[in-house]
């Protein structure tokens, strides 16, 4: 929006910012090499139009030293990387979604010739910006007023699959620690095969009789090797010995089953001692 337009909005006395946002579906796009195309649907549920820009980069979830999952972005992927960011295009790349309307962004893949079988990744960035500034008040050129606009960028995964793709995960170094009223759980997980492992992590803490004391489930995507940290609420756990069971499976409630590559579950368990 031009500065003059902004000033007009401000001087007109806008008192509050209407909710701004765009619904993005799906939250992961899988492109088959036979069709080489996909789509993302955008819906604006609000009363103001939303300006949207679409771009790609190469990146994937990884973990930092604390076990938090973050997106590692690779600015200059080398020729051996499984990046699809350079050869997937979005149409259109810029658009305005009117209030209460929907728009489709088409994704078209043009992979290089001779691409080996496997899965190739990109991250789709959807930038959404509303058109109203938050500063309140009537025209008063003697005062100093300050307000910031907020722009939202949403990043989702794009997966291009060619030929035979298979996945799996190796699980090791399962360990725990009681931290306050939580049980922290770490595990080293390494992707196998030629596609990302998309699944669910599941942890259960049981007592000596097998009774479940705490449980957690979380979606997980393993692209290379990572060591995620999870936390189970345990409250004030009595001193004693317990068992933490941890498993990874490819079931995902948020994705259509035909999109998830199947792989046998992997499990491990470890004793938890509370002094």
């Amino acid at each position: 929006m031009k500065a003059a337009g902004l000033a007009l909005v401000l001087l007109s006395g806008a008192t509050r910012l209407a909710a701004q946002g765009v619904v993005i579906a799906p939250h992961a796009v899988f492109i088959d090499a036979r069709t080489r195309s996909g789509a993302v649907l955008l819906y604006n549920p609000n009363t103001d139009p939303v300006e949207v820009a679409v771009s790609f980069f190469f990146g994937y979830p990884a973990t930092d030293s604390a076990g938090r999952i973050v997106v590692d972005s690779i600015r200059h992927p080398d020729s051996t990387s499984v990046s699809a960011a350079a050869w997937i295009q979005a149409f259109p790349r810029r658009l305005t979604v009117p209030p209460l309307e929907r728009q489709t962004v088409r994704l078209l893949a043009t992979p290089p010739p001779g691409l080996a079988d496997g899965e190739y990744w990109a991250r789709l960035v959807i930038s959404a910006k509303g058109g109203q500034l938050p500063v309140t008040g009537v025209a008063d050129t003697a005062r100093v007023k300050v307000g910031l606009t907020l722009e939202v960028r949403t990043i989702i995964g794009v997966y291009y699959r060619k030929g035979a793709v298979h996945t799996g995960v190796a699980l090791s170094r399962l360990r725990t620690a009681v931290v306050g009223d939580s049980l922290a759980v770490w595990a080293r997980v390494t992707q196998q095969g030629n596609a990302a492992y998309i699944g669910t992590a599941h942890a259960v803490l049981t007592d000596s009789t097998g009774r479940t004391l705490s449980e957690m489930k979380a979606p997980i995507g393993v692209y290379y090797t990572m060591e995620p940290r999870y936390a189970l609420a345990i409250g004030a756990l009595a001193p004693g010995r317990y068992r933490l069971r941890f498993d990874l499976s490819t079931g995902r409630e948020d994705l259509a089953p035909e999109l998830v590559l199947p792989s046998p579950p992997v499990r491990d368990s470890v004793e938890v001692r509370v002094p």
Binding site: A3, L6, A7, L10, R16, L17, A19, Q20, G21, V22, V23, I24, A25, P26, H27, A28, L41, Y43, P45, N46, P61, R68, I69, V70, V71, R102, R123, S127, L133, P134, V135, T136, G137, T141, A142, R143, V144, K145, V146, G147, L148, T149, L150, E151, V152, R153, T154, I155, I156, G157, M216, K217, A218, P219, E253, D254, L255, A256, P257, L259
Partner: protein, 174 residues
Amino acid sequence: MSRLRHSGLLLLALLVPRPGVSQGVGGTLAVDANIIGQALTVTTLSALNFGSVPKGVATTVLPTAAGAGAWQIQGSKNADVSMTFVLPAVLTNIQALPGSTMPISFGATSARWNRATNNVAGATAFNPIAGTTGKLGPPANPFLYLWIGGTVTPAAATKPGVYTGTIIVTIAYL
């Protein structure tokens, strides 16, 4: 906010009409959601607003204050998302002559996030410069809320007018 709350499912229902099948809020939507995949929505609830500030005095808007910027993120239950920011260092006066600016800064506790509920008082503080990772709520409440504040330090000779800038928040689905 109820319209926003259900907008994801609404979208799916709109996009996949199924003649002869009830379109009510029941199993139909769930089936459609499996076909298309779940939606992800990041909604800006309010912008960061300092209002009128005195010259020569630093003014802080806490993330718990009414003027804080706020977002709602809706997606898959229990999903992890990373939250990072691109933050301005100066704001520009859009009414005065070019070059009229005001510093803005963000501290180690200028941002907060909360799982599931829109309650900033019980939210976890973090440094927006570093970003953080959060988790959406459970099935009944698959939301995450995010707030940001900041501090502006106008000089005593600051020109009157409206100072503005843009905060970019990036939500990555992990």
